[in-house]
Symmetry: D2
């Protein structure tokens, strides 16, 4: 298996009056990471998914743990792996470290959906996307 990897510096806009990363910003960071993974590794830029308004990849649940705070200017190392690959949904595990210290552990599950009238209906992950996701599957 392989990990998707990215670094991201903690910016002024990420931090709060306590001088540490404002925690909803971690979700913006992990969302950005998933978006880059889709574009760079799955060959599926979000523009392709969302334009026309036919498809969406909504989150079902997310769980995040913050072992230690991050500060303005810290360089975070993000890694992403696929922890579960279902027929119509998938889960990723994202970790962020700084200088060897764990800062964030995130588990997220998302559905593959198609818009059907006003609602989103789950449908099978397309085979070519599936094949690319498998490369990032843990313990494979």
């Amino acid at each position: 298996m392989t990990h998707f990897h990215k670094t991201r510096r903690v910016r002024f806009a990420d931090t709060d009056p306590a001088g540490i990363v404002y925690f909803p910003r971690y979700f913006v960071m992990t969302n950005d990471l998933v978006e880059e993974w889709f574009a760079a590794a799955l060959d599926l830029p979000y523009r392709k998914i969302f334009e026309g308004g036919i498809r969406a990849v909504p989150l079902l649940n997310v769980s995040e743990t913050f072992p230690a705070p991050s500060r303005l200017g810290d360089m975070l190392d993000f890694t992403l792996a696929v922890s579960r690959l279902g027929t119509k949904s998938f889960s990723v595990k994202i970790k962020a470290h700084c200088g060897g210290q764990a800062r964030l552990i995130s588990d997220q599950s998302s559905a593959w959906t198609r818009r059907d009238g006003g609602t989103l209906k789950a449908e099978a992950i397309p085979p070519e996307v599936r094949t690319r996701m498998e490369q990032f599957l843990e313990n494979s």
Copy 2:
């Protein structure tokens, strides 16, 4: 026990190109809710906690489930209860509904800390805060 309760309309700034709430926005909403709970129910406005930079109430972990999407203009009913009250940390459960439908279930744990040099050190939740939190304790 009692619940802390608030309504909040889904605004333009909360929604994404798929026309539903952009999920990091739920964390901004639940953060705002906790902040209002501190001010209105615990008699502890954040200004009091954060000014001087001595104290902080950092999140340890958060877990959120999104049973159904929320749309622009939806009126969300938020409720907050204390699910665990430790000596130096506490957990809250936040739920959001719209028209009887569950939209968000959030579990969060936070530490009570004091700044000691450059790091945050856990310390006991003050008794008067504890007493007020107890009113919101589930199954009490």
Copy 3:
């Protein structure tokens, strides 16, 4: 004429490591104010404008001045007036005060548009919206 008026407390999420409002947050606040003005005073909730993806009210330009910083917990008084009412565009002036001290002066111009294929085309502000906007026109 009349002003549209709202109060809004400065929240934790609005402030930065310098302990003052992070300035892009003022734009979120003024956006929220315009959205509430549309719903409450113009009888035109954004859901009505944006659903279906036919209409949009994009900003053309904005100019903001920050006479003094705002801090966590400050209660800001916002007022909105229409400073110009064109056929296909309009301008609003938004001011925020706290305890009599000016904190924000914002001038914004927006276009009234309809989606035509992939682009937004300016069109006349509907008469019923125009009539309601006129009540907020300065020097009228």
Copy 4:
């Protein structure tokens, strides 16, 4: 003179239900750009400025014009130049283009300040910062 230059792709988090960049996001983008300029060109990372809480570089005013909308996936080319270099304040002009089309023109003025008790007091821009800023001065 020289320009500070950066590219930045429009991400999902930047766009709104109308499918275009949500305008407060431009201010986050231009803030990020100024932050990178400080670190890369002025040798003054924000961590150095803000840690200890002694110094701040608050915005005095900002004016932005949006000649054309930007969409998810667009690659924006940002350039920054210094348009005015005062003793205790400075102004920058930021432009963003995409495929030769102007998307954003921003003029911002900021003060150089030191915290004096509870307030920010303007003080002279340090000579070594000034010298580096001069390289980006328009018409020089």
